[in-house]
């Protein structure tokens, strides 16, 4: 009994973890289901049909490709713009710092639906054609702030004396930036870019408002909740999960090996 009381935090924590993981397991298991009707919500029988034909559903893989394209370009845009802002914020002095800080903070502190709706009023008033470009503009906008935060954290923890040392060794500002500042800031930039990609790829609310009749992958899933959920959705969800886990594991292995070799030197 005392043992139980001492470890109550462990049990509560593991229960929470189970709550977090359970839907992923359900998604995985139901990718092998052979549903009776249009909806894949209750278990019928084991089948690998959906895995053998992942693109067998009309328009689904097209929406997946579109989502990847948008996420790719939005990531590039947001990372470049965001990293520039982050460098300026940490390394330079300038006027209107407070206003700029709040302009970066506010998109993260606002319900997504408000941003989505207000952006739609802008596009409606300008008479813009809703579609690929409006989605790309919107995604770049809301990913930008997250990149700024990620890069800023890294640049802040950087020792400014390294840049001074480079200047003392007669490196010009461009050379200092390319050969000292950028390599050290790279992990922060990479983290910001990955976050931007994930946010854009999985975004629903802003896309829902500003996509017109263009269908991204989350939009496809949303629509299928009304029309009928094909098993292939679960296949894609499971495949995404496995790929991402593999990336994490490989990255962990590489970094732990580096640590090892650094220690043995």
């Amino acid at each position: 009994m005392r043992w139980l009381r001492r470890n109550i935090v462990v049990f509560a924590g593991l229960l929470t973890l189970a709550y977090l993981i359970l839907p992923n397991i359900v998604v995985m298991v139901f990718s092998f289901n052979n549903p009776a009707g249009k909806f894949n919500y209750s278990w019928q029988e084991f089948s690998t049909e959906a895995w053998q034909d992942p693109c067998g559903v009309a328009d689904m893989c097209g929406s997946l490709v579109l989502s990847l394209q948008i996420a790719f370009f939005a990531t590039i845009g947001a990372t470049v713009l965001g990293a520039m802002i982050a460098f300026a914020l940490v390394r330079y002095r300038f006027k209107a710092r407070g206003a700029i800080n709040s302009l970066i903070f506010l998109p993260m502190a606002m319900p997504e639906v408000v941003m989505a709706a207000s952006l739609l009023t802008l596009f409606l008033n300008l008479g813009a054609q809703l579609g690929f470009w409006t989605i790309l503009i919107a995604h770049t906008m809301f990913c930008l702030s997250f990149v700024v935060v990620a890069v800023k954290a890294r640049v802040l923890s950087m020792d400014p004396r390294l840049e001074e040392a480079a200047r003392d060794l007669y490196a010009g500002p461009v050379q200092t930036f390319l050969r000292v500042t950028l390599p050290i800031a790279a992990p922060g930039i990479a983290a910001g870019a990955m976050l931007a990609f994930a946010l854009s790829f999985d975004d629903f609310i802003i896309t829902n408002f500003n996509s017109g009749s263009t269908v991204t992958f989350p939009m496809f899933v949303w629509g299928s909740a009304q029309r009928g959920t094909p098993v292939q959705i679960n296949v894609i969800g499971t495949a995404m999960f496995i790929i991402a886990v593999l990336i994490v594991v490989v990255a962990q292995l590489i970094s732990s090996r580096r640590k090892h070799s650094a220690q043995s030197k």
Binding site: P23, P111, M141, E164, A198, M240, I243
Partner: protein, 307 residues
């Protein structure tokens, strides 16, 4: 910042002037494109939305600004239950996230040992599958007379939620409980990660010191751990409450017409009914409510920490 202060080279005055002017302009060139993007596609739209909210007209004849503030009053009198639901559901989900997330964050920070990295990956791993797919999975988990609902019914949990008006009979799907479950689930990692960050920074010798001074574990938690983790609690609750209050996905997929939140109304007014002034007014009220909450919180936590 210190680098720029010490970097001014002492050369001939004319050269220095020209170079320092160019140096002074560097931050503005760095800021310009990104800030311009945010001004045009984030700040300007808010102005357009404000103007839309005081327009009248119809889709066929077009909308004109007539300073018709009545729209706000009409929207509030018609949709106040949705606002109440939004605040209630998002608030409940935030409290549940805190209660569920704190033990896990504590476990990872202090008790996990060599399992720490694995547990952190497991917290983030759900994100790897699209959240809409995972939300749909709750339809399976909470299905009528499925194993989860059966257990909740047998242990009497549903009797309690029935009393609270969160469920009706022995159903969970299409009730407020289902919506709150979905909201809690979707935003839980946003609570756990800041909590973990603030707990991990804590010096574990503080716990030993409290123990040495004859504090019971519960006292140590109340007087040392909890106060020191407050920054994590504050940013975690913000990161949960803000998106949850504007969410309409969980209410749509897991709820019924009686569980619609204000996000659902904004979405349908904008995209289906096409009553833009009402939708813009509702969105503006939601923004105001959230901004007030956030401002109060930030006053207590300090801006630069959160950005």
């Amino acid at each position: 910042m210190t680098a720029t202060a010490t970097a001014a080279p002492a050369a001939e005055p004319g050269v220095v002037h020209k170079r320092s002017l160019r140096r002074k302009l560097v931050p503005y060139w760095l800021l310009l494109p990104g800030i311009l993007w945010l001004v045009v596609f984030f700040a300007l739209p808010l102005v357009y939305q404000a103007s839309t909210s005081v327009q009248t007209g119809s889709l066929e004849e077009g909308f004109k600004v007539t300073w018709h503030f009545q729209t706000y009053w009409d929207a509030l009198t018609e949709y106040w239950p949705h606002f109440v639901r939004s605040v209630l559901y998002a608030g409940t989900a935030t409290v549940l996230c805190l209660l569920l997330g704190y033990p896990l964050a504590y476990l990872i920070a202090f008790k996990a040992g060599r399992w720490r990295n694995l547990l952190l990956v497991l917290v983030i791993a759900p994100f790897f599958t699209s959240f809409l797919i995972r939300t749909l999975a709750w339809k399976t988990i909470l299905s009528d007379s499925g194993p989860v609902v059966d257990v909740l019914d047998t242990v009497g949990f549903l009797d309690i939620t029935n009393l609270l008006g969160m469920t009706d009979g022995s159903r969970v799907l299409a009730t407020p409980l289902a919506v709150v479950t979905g909201l809690t689930y979707n935003f839980l990692p946003f609570m756990i990660l800041p909590l973990y960050t603030s707990l991990e920074r804590m010096d574990s010798r503080l716990h030993e010191a409290a123990g040495d001074l004859y504090a019971k574990p519960s006292t140590t938690f109340r007087k040392v751990t909890l106060p020191l983790s407050m920054p994590g609690v504050v940013s975690g609750t913000l990161l949960t409450f803000i998106p949850a209050s504007g969410d309409y996905i969980n209410a749509e997929l897991l709820g019924s017409t009686d569980t619609k939140m204000v996000g659902n109304v904004i979405q349908s007014q904008f995209l289906r009914v096409l009553d833009y002034p009402t939708a813009a007014a509702l969105s503006f009220i939601l923004m105001a409510v959230v901004l007030i909450v956030v401002t109060i919180y930030i006053r207590r936590a300090g801006t630069e920490d959160l950005v």
